[in-house]
């Protein structure tokens, strides 16, 4: 077979190996000469699957000092709204590697993910601790890497507080919000989740349990052990199912 020759007429044969980037100026000039205008730089077409990475601390009502690596909810929530509204986006992959953070911000993100009408798949890599647990289970289907861990422990007080029974009740209510969300969106029972939360002897300075990949699946917290490949495959399956569903509804 004869190889296809790709000579630009005005360039001569000298720089065939130039990258497309180098050719751009001349084609741009051509366009301006022909049409009197140029395009806004076009990126590759929109991806139909978007990806949210939730890393470090989840930052909520208070800006954390700059040495903390944070995921801010004022960034994530508008992105979720945009994903819900954009018809070109068909599914969402949530990648988690978080140590926890603000309860309200974490629950807000979890609720947004749970109520998203598009298929969502989460994957816990490294760690999905504390408030990362409700975020991981909020998606339609959840994966955990075999070596990833999720720490389930009680909510603690930070900063000033007054030692009265009401403080404990308030804290208990906050904890209940997390427990209710997790048990509602995963297969784990409330008893089991609370048992893991108040277990002694697993964590050195704390009560709670560090749940590793396969155990998280065994307890029903996460759906399956897997990585990016399985997660993408699952997401594509869910997208296919949901598009069938909408076609049916049109008829």
């Amino acid at each position: 077979m004869e190889p296809i020759k790709y000579n630009k007429p005005d360039d001569g044969g000298g720089n065939e190996q130039e990258t497309p980037k180098e050719e751009k100026p001349s084609s741009l000039i051509e366009k301006i000469q022909q049409l009197g205008q140029t395009n806004v730089p076009q990126l590759a077409q929109d991806s139909k699957i978007h990806c949210l990475t939730i890393v470090g601390q989840i930052e909520g009502h208070m800006t954390l000092p700059p040495q903390n690596k944070t995921t801010k909810y004022e960034h994530l929530i508008p992105q979720l709204v945009a994903i819900e509204q954009n018809p070109k986006i068909e599914g969402l992959l949530v990648v988690l590697n978080t140590v926890g953070g603000d309860v309200e911000a974490g629950l807000a993100i979890s609720e947004m993910l749970a109520s998203l009408s598009k298929p969502t798949v989460s994957i816990v890599l490294g760690g999905g601790h504390s408030i990362g647990v409700p975020i991981a289970v909020s998606c339609d289907y959840s994966y955990i890497a075999e070596t990833a861990t999720m720490t389930i422990h009680p909510i603690r007080l930070t900063g000033l507080f007054i030692g009265v029974p009401q403080t404990f009740e308030y804290l208990d209510k906050m904890q209940d919000r997390v427990v209710t969300f997790v048990t509602k969106h995963s297969k784990i029972t409330e008893e089991k989740f609370k048992e893991l939360m108040f277990e002694k002897g697993n964590l050195t300075r704390d009560i709670g349990t560090n749940v590793v990949g396969t155990d998280a699946v065994k307890y029903g917290l996460i759906d399956e052990v897997g990585g990016i490949g399985q997660a993408m495959k699952k997401l594509n399956e869910l997208i296919a199912i949901s598009s069938e569903g909408t076609e049916g509804m049109v008829q």
Partner: protein
């Protein structure tokens, strides 16, 4: 505010937080970026904030890349 995290509070709120973050948001052709201004007045990309995975393949805004307005 209640933090539900593994990180101990003394590690989150260290005493030496005099340093004010120089980071701000910047949009490059519709790609939301977290940038940091350097001494020369140019911006250095810290993080790509987009949810579109294709944006992460854009050479112009890989973390560490400089954006200058000259």
């Amino acid at each position: 505010m209640i933090l539900y995290t593994l990180t101990p509070p003394e590690m989150i709120f260290t005493n030496d937080n005099q340093e004010v973050s120089q980071q701000k948001m910047y949009h490059l052709d519709g790609i939301p970026l977290l940038v940091e201004s350097d001494a020369e007045g140019a911006y250095r990309v810290v993080r790509v904030m987009s949810s579109d995975p294709a944006h992460y393949l854009d050479e112009r805004c890989t973390p560490g890349a400089k954006i200058s307005f000259l």
